[in-house]
């Protein structure tokens, strides 16, 4: 009973943190499952992929109805992320648990650095609707104004999506930490649309490799169901908190936590 409650609570906390930082639960859920429950790395990755599907689908339902998702851009990039995720999922099952854990700890390091870098970067100029391709628009809920934009440098963003999909399939994270900056900085998609479109895509990306993990017997039904339900619940709380807390302070705190967890995971496998 305590194990079940621990999994549920852990899922809720990691889901809330991930949602608060716009990262998704996987980056925090996997270290939690490995360090606190001694779960084998492949099972932790499989659990995270299912949790990503849950939060992505729930968030996308809301964002699609708010018209912030660029569905055409999402489908275009999904041709790359799904391909990357399939190869990521297949290659992950060729690696040992120790090797996978080391690669994951390296990813945490990269994510921590990216979080700090993003918090210090000035916002890029957003493209007017007259330039670029795939024009779209949405009503910004916070200002009530209509934001029109078009997409730039699509081939480069597709390449990054391929890599992000591969990382997602390999390590069980959503990949949004790479897709959102690619869309926002390279393709000059407004942040809200980039975040919503990334969230729309990561469920499909995760599903692409989740079935591979299922076929290898890495989906523990009890652990996965409890964690997924916990992360789903926690992500709603995280969204609520995000509106009330100062972004930069939170980003720095959790970047430091990720650095510490990265080192701990790496040392565990040495």
């Amino acid at each position: 009973m305590i194990t079940y409650l621990g999994l549920l609570a852990g899922g809720m906390i990691t889901g809330a943190i991930g949602s608060l930082l716009g990262l998704g639960g996987g980056v925090f859920l996997i270290p939690f499952l490995v360090l606190a429950f001694d779960l084998p790395m492949h099972q932790a990755v499989a659990t995270s992929l299912v949790a990503v599907i849950a939060t992505s689908s729930a968030g996308a339902a809301v964002n699609v109805e708010r018209r912030t998702v660029h569905i055409r851009l999402g489908i275009l990039l999904e041709t790359m992320t799904v391909l990357g995720a399939i190869f990521g999922g297949l290659s992950a099952n060729l690696l040992s648990g120790a090797a996978l854990t080391r690669v994951f700890s390296a990813l945490l390091l990269v994510v921590a650095v990216l979080m700090i870098w993003r918090s210090r970067m000035p916002p890029p100029a957003e493209s007017p609707a007259g330039s670029g391709i795939l024009p779209s628009s949405f009503v910004d809920g916070s200002t009530g104004s209509t934001v029109s934009y078009a997409v730039h440098r699509v081939p480069l963003t597709m390449l990054i999506s391929l890599a992000a999909g591969n990382i997602s399939g390999l390590l069980g994270v959503g990949g949004g930490v790479f897709k959102v900056p690619a869309m926002h900085i390279l393709s000059r998609v407004p942040m809200k649309a980039a975040s919503a479109t990334s969230n729309f895509m990561i469920g499909v990306t995760a599903a692409a490799s989740a079935f591979i993990y299922l076929s290898y017997g890495h989906v523990n039904p009890g652990v996965t169901a409890l964690s997924a339900l916990g992360v789903l619940t926690g992500s709603f709380a995280g969204t609520w908190l995000a509106q009330r807390l100062h972004a930069r302070v939170i980003t720095w705190i959790f970047a430091l936590i990720l650095l510490a967890v990265s080192v701990q995971l790496f040392l565990r496998q040495s």
Partner: protein, 125 residues
């Protein structure tokens, strides 16, 4: 006479509705599985939870084999429903683009769907 929704509005309704239904339904089945898990005996549950999806499939196809506890069946069913939700979302998007006569994006959606289906078939074979 009521105005028909635009193609874009229809896409938003169908995609949003499917995603919401998928999450709620799969969560309900998983919760039912967890309730059954808590209500069952610890030994049987622990043994049942160690059964992989492949063993579960074998149990379902072979009536003579050892039967998987209901709780585990429900948990796997909820998880597979959740995993299929994004796949069905891609199908829905493909259909709505086809109805909108946007052949380019209907085709791209189909490409994504075919990759997903091929991967699922390969994984389960």
């Amino acid at each position: 006479m009521t105005d028909l929704p635009s193609a874009e509005e229809q896409q938003v309704q169908w995609v949003g509705g499917l995603l919401r239904t998928g999450v709620v339904l799969s969560a309900a089945v998983m919760v039912a599985g967890i309730v059954a898990l808590l209500a069952g005996s610890t030994g049987a549950m622990d043994e049942g939870l160690r059964r992989t999806a492949a063993q579960l499939l074998n149990d379902l196809l072979d009536p003579a084999s050892e039967q998987t506890p209901l709780a585990v069946l429900l948990l796997y069913a909820g998880l597979v429903l959740l995993m299929l939700t994004p796949v069905l979302r891609v199908l829905t998007v493909a259909v709505t683009f086809a109805l909108e006569k946007d052949r380019r994006f209907a085709f791209l959606s189909l490409v994504v769907l075919i990759m997903l289906i091929a991967e699922i078939v390969f994984a389960l074979s």
